[in-house]
C-alpha cells in the first residue's frame, strides 16, 4: 500500500473518498432527527424574533409564512404588520386574544378584516369629542382602509361636560341645574373625517346612543344633533362605495331625515336604507319617496316611525314607478286606509317588490280588499305581513279568495287581524302549499 505521493496525487485520492463515506451514527438511542430543528426553522425563528427591526415576510414561501404567522408576537405595532402580513393565523391569534366571541363567518371568513373592523369600531365607540384627538382615528385609516368593509358602531359618546356639571350629576342634584348646562353642544364623532378615506367601506351601521349609561341617563345622549346630521350627511355623500346604511334609534325627525336624504340623492352604490326606530313623519316619508326614484335602493326599512297616510301615499306614488325596490317595511307606523289603499294600488303596477310589511298599522277592510286584488294577479310578491290590523271577517274572506289564485306568496302573516279562524287556516294552507311548491 506504500504508494508514492505522486501516484496518490495523480489518481483519485482514496482517503478523501473514505472520508466522504463516513456517516455519523448516534450513540444515544433516544436521539432522533425529529427533535433537532431544521436550520430553516431556526432561521424563521430568528426572523420572528427580529421582526420589528427587520420584517421579512413577503419573500417567504407559503408554508414558511404560515410558520411565521404562528410565531409572531401579537403585540407588534400595527403600522408594521397591517399591510405586510396577509390574512391568516396571525390575525386569528390577534382577534382571539382581544375578543372572546369571534365568529369569522360574519366577516367573510377573513380574520384580518374582522380584526381591523372591530379595531376601528372600538376606536370610534370610545372616541370622545374634544378630548380624544382625531389623530388616533386618522392614524388607523391608512392601515385599515383596505380591509374594512363594514362598520357596526353600537355607541357614540357625547363630549365630556365641565367638571362641575359632572359633579352635580354624581351628586344627583335636582334637574333644574342640569338643564342650565345643556346649552353646550352635544355633537358626536364627526364622520366627515373618516368615511371619505375608507375606500372599501360597504356597510355602515350607526346608533347615536350610549351603552351602559347607568344613572347618568339623559335624553340628549340618545339623540343626533343637527350638526351631527349635517356632518354625517356630507360624509355619506363622500363615501361612494357605501351599499348599506343603517341608522337606528337616533331620534331622526323630519328635518334631519330631509337633510340626510338630500345628500343621499343619486348615490351611486346605495342599495339598502334602514331608518328604523326613529321619529320620521310624513315629510320625511315624502323625502324618502323622492329618494326611491333617484337611487337604486333595493331595501327600504322604515320600521317604527311615525308615518301616516300622506307619507304612505307619497311612498306609494314612488313605488308605482320604481323598478328596483324589492323590500318595503312600514311596520309600526300610523298608516291608515287611505295610505294602505294607495300602496296596494301602486302594487298593481309594480313588478319588482317581493316583500311588503304593513304590520301594526291602522289599516282596515278597504285596504285588504284592494290588496286581495293585487295578490290575485301579482306573482312577484313573495312575502306579505298585515298583522295587527283590524281587518275584520270580510277582509279575511277577500284575502282567502285571493290566496286561492296566488302561487307565489310563501309567507303571509295575518295574526291579530280579527279574521275568521277558517280564513286564517285556509290562508296558511295556501301559503304552505306555495312554499312546498317553491321548494
Amino acid at each position: 500500500m506504500s504508494r508514492s505521493p505522486y501516484l496518490q496525487g495523480a489518481t483519485i485520492n482514496p482517503a478523501e473518498d473514505f472520508r466522504r463515506m463516513r456517516r455519523i451514527v448516534a450513540e444515544d438511542l433516544d436521539w432522533t432527527l425529529v427533535i433537532v430543528p431544521c436550520l430553516s426553522k431556526l432561521c424563521l425563528q430568528s426572523f420572528i424574533r427580529n421582526f420589528e427591526e427587520k420584517p421579512i415576510f413577503e419573500e417567504l414561501s407559503p408554508t414558511q409564512r404560515d410558520f411565521v404567522q404562528e410565531g409572531l408576537s401579537t403585540s407588534l405595532p400595527l403600522n408594521l404588520t397591517a399591510n405586510l402580513i396577509s390574512d391568516g393565523v396571525f390575525w386569528k391569534r390577534c382577534c382571539e386574544e382581544r375578543w372572546d366571541l369571534c365568529d369569522v363567518s360574519h366577516y367573510g371568513h377573513s380574520w384580518k378584516r374582522m380584526f381591523f373592523e372591530r379595531h376601528m369600531e372600538n376606536i370610534i365607540e370610545l372616541f370622545i369629542p374634544y378630548s380624544t384627538e382625531e389623530k388616533t382615528v386618522l392614524e388607523m385609516v391608512p392601515l385599515c382602509k383596505n380591509y374594512v368593509k363594514r362598520l357596526n358602531i353600537s355607541q357614540l359618546l357625547p363630549p365630556i361636560r365641565e367638571p362641575e356639571g359632572e359633579e352635580e350629576d354624581e351628586l344627583g342634584l335636582d334637574s333644574p341645574y342640569q338643564n342650565e348646562n345643556e346649552g353646550q353642544s352635544m355633537d358626536h364623532f364627526n364622520f366627515k373625517i373618516l368615511l371619505s378615506k375608507l375606500t372599501n367601506l360597504e356597510e355602515l351601521h350607526l346608533v347615536y346612543k350610549v351603552n351602559q349609561c347607568g344613572m347618568n341617563f339623559e335624553w340628549q345622549m340618545f339623540e343626533m344633533t343637527d350638526k351631527d346630521c349635517k356632518s354625517l350627511a356630507s360624509a355619506l355623500k363622500s363615501c361612494k362605495t357605501l351599499k348599506i346604511l343603517r341608522l337606528h334609534e337616533s331620534h331622526i325627525e323630519d328635518k334631519k331625515c330631509l337633510l340626510l336624504v338630500k345628500h343621499l340623492l343619486d348615490h351611486p352604490s346605495l342599495r339598502e336604507l334602514d331608518f328604523s326606530h326613529n321619529l320620521i313623519g310624513d315629510k320625511g316619508a315624502r323625502a324618502v319617496a323622492k329618494l326611491l326614484n333617484k337611487s337604486q335602493l333595493e331595501t327600504l326599512n322604515l320600521y317604527d316611525n311615525d308615518i301616516r297616510d300622506h307619507g304612505a301615499k307619497a311612498l306609494a306614488h314612488a313605488l308605482a314607478k320604481n323598478p328596483t325596490l324589492q323590500s318595503l317595511n312600514l311596520r309600526l307606523n300610523r298608516v291608515g286606509d287611505e295610505g294602505g289603499q294607495a300602496i296596494a294600488n301602486a302594487l298593481l303596477n309594480n313588478k319588482t317588490l317581493s316583500h311588503l310589511h304593513l304590520g301594526a298599522n291602522k289599516v282596515t277592510e278597504p285596504t285588504v280588499i284592494t290588496l286581495a286584488k293585487v295578490i290575485a294577479q301579482n306573482n312577484t310578491l313573495k312575502s306579505i305581513n298585515i298583522s295587527c290590523n283590524c281587518l275584520g271577517e270580510d277582509g279575511g274572506k277577500a284575502l282567502e279568495e285571493a290566496m286561492s289564485y296566488n302561487t307565489s306568496i310563501t309567507e303571509c302573516d295575518v295574526c291579530l287581524t280579527g279574521m275568521g279562524e277558517q280564513s286564517v287556516s285556509f290562508i296558511n294552507q295556501a301559503v304552505w302549499t306555495n312554499k312546498k311548491n317553491a321548494i
Partner: protein, 667 residues
C-alpha cells in the same frame, strides 16, 4: 318521510310562536300609541277648554275691574275686591287642578312605562325561554330523526347482509356439493384404473414368465447345441492339428492387423496432438525469435550510432590537439631558429616534418590488409608465443617482432571482447593452426600461379598467412568466423569418423580406437585424421550456411567494425615524431644558451643601473661645468677646472672597460 315532515312542521310552527309574540308586542305597541294619541287629544281638548274657561273668567275679572271705577263706596269696593279675589282664586284653583291632573297623568304614565318595561322584560324572558325550548325540541327532533335514519339504515344493511349471507351460503353449499360429486367420481375412476392396472400387470407378468420360460428353454437348447458343437470342434481341431489348416494363419494375421491398426490410430492421435503442441511452441518460439531479432537490431543501431559519434568526437579531438601541437611545434621551431641564428650564429635549416603538411586522422594505410589477415597472423603468432612459453626446452625460437606484439595482443583482446564464444576460446590455438594449415594445403588449387610466385620469396609461415587471408577474403569470411569455421570443420570430421567407427562396430572391430578418438577429439586433432574427402564438403557446407545467415548483416557490420578497430600503431609514432622535433642534442644546446642568456641578462641589468648612475654624474658634471664657466670668468679657477675634467675622463674610461668585458664574454 313522516319524521322529516314533522320537522318541517316544527320548523314552520316554532318560529311562528316567536313571531306571534312579536306581533303581540307590535299590537300592544300600536294600541298604546292609539291610547296615547287619544289621551293626548283628550288632554289637548281639556287644556283648550281650560284655556277657554280661564280666559272667560279672566275676561270677567277684567270686566269687573272696569266696573270698579264706578263704585264709590268703600264697602262696595271691598265687596268687589273680595269678589275679584274669589274669582281669581277660583281661576288659580282651576289651574292648579289642571296641573295636578297633568302631574297625575305623568305619574301614571311613568308607572305604566315602568310596567311596560317590566312586561317587556318578561316577554323577552319568555321569548328566550321559548326559543330555548324550541331549540331543545328541534334538537330532539333532529336526534330522533337521525336515530331513525340510522335505525333504518342499520335495518337495511342488516337485511342486505342477511340476504347476502344466505345467498353466499347457498352458493357455497352448491359448490361444495358439486365438489363432492366430482370427488366421488374421481375416486371411482381411480379405483377402476387401479383394477385395470393390476390386471395389466398380472397379464404382463404372465406373459413375461411365459416368454422367460421359452427363452430359458431356447437357451438351454442352444447351450446344448454349443456344447455339441464344441465337442465337434474339439474333435475337428484334433484332426486339424494333424493337418495344417489354411485358415489359421489368416486369422492370426487379421488379428494382428487389427491390433496394428488400432495402434496406428492411437499413434495418429498422439501424432496430431504432438503436432499441435509443436506448432504452438513453434509459434511462441518464432515470436520470441522475432522479438530478439528486433532487440538485436535496436542494439546494433545503437552501437552503430555510438561508434559514429565516437569517431566524430575522436576526429574533432584529434584535429584540435593536432592544431595545438602544430602551433607549439611552430613556436618551438621559431625559437630554435632564433637560438641558432642569433645566439650561436649558425645556419638553421628547417627539419623535415611530414606531419606538418597533413591534418586529420591517419587512415589505415594498408587497405589490402583485411581483418582476416590480422586474425590469421594473430592465430599463428599466439600459437607460437604459447608454444614458446609451453616448451621449456625452447627449441623453437621466438619469431615475434617486438613492435608487432602489442598490436596483435590488442587485436586478440578486441576479438575476445567482441563476442567470441567461450567454446571458441577452448578450441586450442594449436588445433586452429593445424586446421588453417590444412586449409591452406588443401585449397592450394584455388590460388593462381602468379600469386604463388609472388609469395615465394616470403617465409613459409608468411606465405601461409597471405594465402589464408586471400582465401578468406575471397570467401567473405571475417576474422571472427575463423574459429567457427575451424570448429565446424573439426566437428564434421569427427562425425565422419564416428560413422566410420559405427561401421567398425558393425564389422565387429574393437572400440579402443573410438575411445581414443573420443578423448582426443577436440584438442588433439592431427592431420592424419583429416583427408581431402572430408574437408571439402565440410567447408562447402559451412560456406553455404555462412552465406545464408550472414549475407545481410555481414556487410553492415564490417563497415563500422573497420572503423572501430582502426590502426593506432601509427598514432604513437606520429605524436612522438611531433614531440621529437627538438632532439636531445638540441635540448642540450638550448639549455646552454639559456644559461648564457641568463648571464647576459644579468650583465645588461647591471649596465642599465650603471647608465642611470652615469646620467646622474653627467648631470652633476654639467652643473659643475656651469659653475666652472662662472668660475672661469674669474682667473683664479683654472686649476679647479683641470681637476674636474680629469675626474670626468676617469669615469668615461671605466665605462669603456666594462663594455669591453661584456663583448668578450659574448664572443
Amino acid at each position: 318521510m313522516v319524521l322529516s315532515q314533522r320537522i318541517l312542521t316544527l320548523q314552520r310552527e316554532l318560529p311562528e310562536q316567536i313571531r306571534n309574540i312579536q306581533t303581540a308586542a307590535d299590537a300592544k305597541e300600536s294600541m298604546r300609541r292609539t291610547e296615547q294619541e287619544k289621551a293626548c287629544r283628550l288632554r289637548l281638548e281639556l287644556l283648550e277648554n281650560d284655556v277657554k274657561s280661564s280666559q272667560e273668567k279672566f275676561g270677567e275679572i277684567i270686566g269687573e275691574w272696569s266696573t270698579a271705577n264706578q263704585k264709590i263706596t268703600p264697602q262696595e269696593l271691598q265687596e268687589l275686591l273680595n269678589n275679584q279675589q274669589k274669582l281669581s282664586s277660583a281661576l288659580l284653583d282651576d289651574k292648579k287642578r289642571v296641573i295636578n291632573e297633568l302631574q297625575q297623568e305623568l305619574k301614571v304614565g311613568d308607572d305604566r312605562y315602568v310596567k311596560d318595561l317590566r312586561k317587556h322584560a318578561e316577554e323577552l324572558g319568555l321569548m328566550m325561554e321559548r326559543v330555548e325550548d324550541q331549540i331543545k325540541t328541534l334538537k330532539m327532533a333532529y336526534r330522533e330523526e337521525l336515530a331513525h335514519i340510522q335505525r333504518i339504515n342499520q335495518q337495511e344493511s342488516e337485511v342486505l347482509l342477511t340476504t347476502d349471507k344466505a345467498e353466499w351460503e347457498q352458493r357455497l353449499k352448491a359448490l361444495w356439493d358439486k365438489e363432492l360429486d366430482r370427488l366421488m367420481q374421481r375416486q371411482e375412476k381411480v379405483e377402476e384404473y387401479n383394477e385395470k392396472v393390476e390386471d395389466v400387470v398380472l397379464e404382463t407378468r404372465d406373459q413375461f414368465n411365459d416368454k422367460q420360460l421359452g427363452h430359458n428353454e431356447k437357451l438351454m437348447a442352444m447351450v446344448r447345441e454349443r456344447k455339441q458343437l464344441e465337442a465337434a470342434s474339439m474333435s475337428t481341431q484334433r484332426i486339424l492339428t494333424v493337418i495344417p489348416k489354411p485358415d489359421g494363419p489368416d486369422n492370426l494375421i487379421q488379428r494382428k492387423l487389427r491390433l496394428v491398426r488400432k495402434e496406428m490410430l492411437n499413434l495418429k492421435a498422439q501424432y496430431s496432438s504432438q503436432q499441435k503442441c509443436i506448432t504452438q511452441m513453434k509459434r511462441q518460439l518464432t515470436d520470441r525469435r522475432n522479438r530478439i531479432v528486433q532487440q538485436h537490431g535496436h542494439t546494433q543501431k545503437k552501437i552503430q550510432h555510438f561508434a559514429v559519434a565516437d569517431v566524430k568526437k575522436f576526429e574533432q579531438m584529434w584535429l584540435m590537439i593536432e592544431d595545438e601541437v602544430k602551433q607549439l611545434v611552430e613556436r618551438v621551431l621559431v625559437l630554435d631558429s632564433i637560438i641558432y641564428k642569433q645566439h650561436l650564429g649558425l645556419a638553421w635549416e628547417r627539419p623535415h616534418m611530414a606531419f606538418m603538411g597533413r591534418s586529420g586522422l591517419i587512415q589505415p594505410q594498408k587497405q589490402t590488409q583485411s581483418p582476416t589477415h590480422q586474425a590469421v597472423t594473430q592465430v599463428i603468432r599466439t600459437q607460437d608465443l604459447q608454444g614458446s612459453q609451453r616448451m621449456t626446452d625452447a627449441s623453437v625460437g621466438p619469431m615475434l617482432k617486438t613492435d608487432a606484439e602489442s598490436v596483435t595482443t590488442e587485436v586478440h583482446k578486441a576479438e575476445s571482447e567482441g563476442g567470441a564464444e567461450v567454446e571458441e576460446r577452448k578450441l586450442s590455438n594449436e588445433a586452429l593452426k593445424t586446421v588453417m594449415e590444412l586449409l591452406c594445403d588443401e585449397l592450394g588449387f584455388l590460388f593462381e600461379e602468379k600469386f604463388l610466385s609472388q609469395l615465394a620469396p616470403l617465409e613459409e609461415e608468411e606465405q601461409a598467412v597471405m594465402k589464408l587471408s586471400s582465401l578468406f577474403s575471397a570467401f567473405g569470411i571475417s576474422k571472427r568466423e575463423v574459429p567457427r569455421l575451424a570448429q565446424v570443420l573439426l566437428k564434421h570430421k569427427n562425425q565422419k569418423r564416428l560413422q566410420t567407427e559405427d561401421v567398425c562396430v558393425e564389422t565387429g572391430n574393437s572400440s579402443d580406437k573410438a575411445e581414443d578418438a573420443g578423448a582426443s577429439c577436440m584438442s588433439h586433432v592431427t592431420s592424419e585424421h583429416m583427408d581431402l574427402n572430408h574437408l571439402l564438403p565440410a567447408l562447402k557446407s559451412f560456406l553455404e550456411q555462412h552465406m545464408r545467415s550472414r549475407e545481410v548483416p555481414a556487410s553492415q557490420n564490417l563497415s563500422f567494425q573497420c572503423e572501430a578497430v582502426r590502426d593506432t600503431s601509427e598514432d604513437q609514432a606520429y605524436w612522438e615524431s611531433m614531440s621529437n622535433v627538438i632532439s636531445e642534442d638540441k635540448v642540450k644546446v638550448w639549455e646552454a644558451a639559456e644559461s648564457k642568456i641568463k648571464q647576459y641578462h644579468a650583465e645588461l641589468t647591471e649596465i642599465s643601473e650603471l647608465i642611470t648612475e652615469t646620467l646622474s654624474l653627467e648631470q652633476q658634471n654639467a652643473e659643475l661645468r656651469v659653475l666652472l664657466q662662472q668660475y672661469l670668468q674669474s682667473i683664479v679657477s683654472v686649476c679647479v677646472c683641470v681637476c674636474v675634467n680629469l675626474s670626468v675622463d676617469k669615469v668615461s674610461d671605466s665605462c669603456h672597460a666594462v663594455l669591453l668585458v661584456i663583448i668578450s664574454e659574448r664572443k
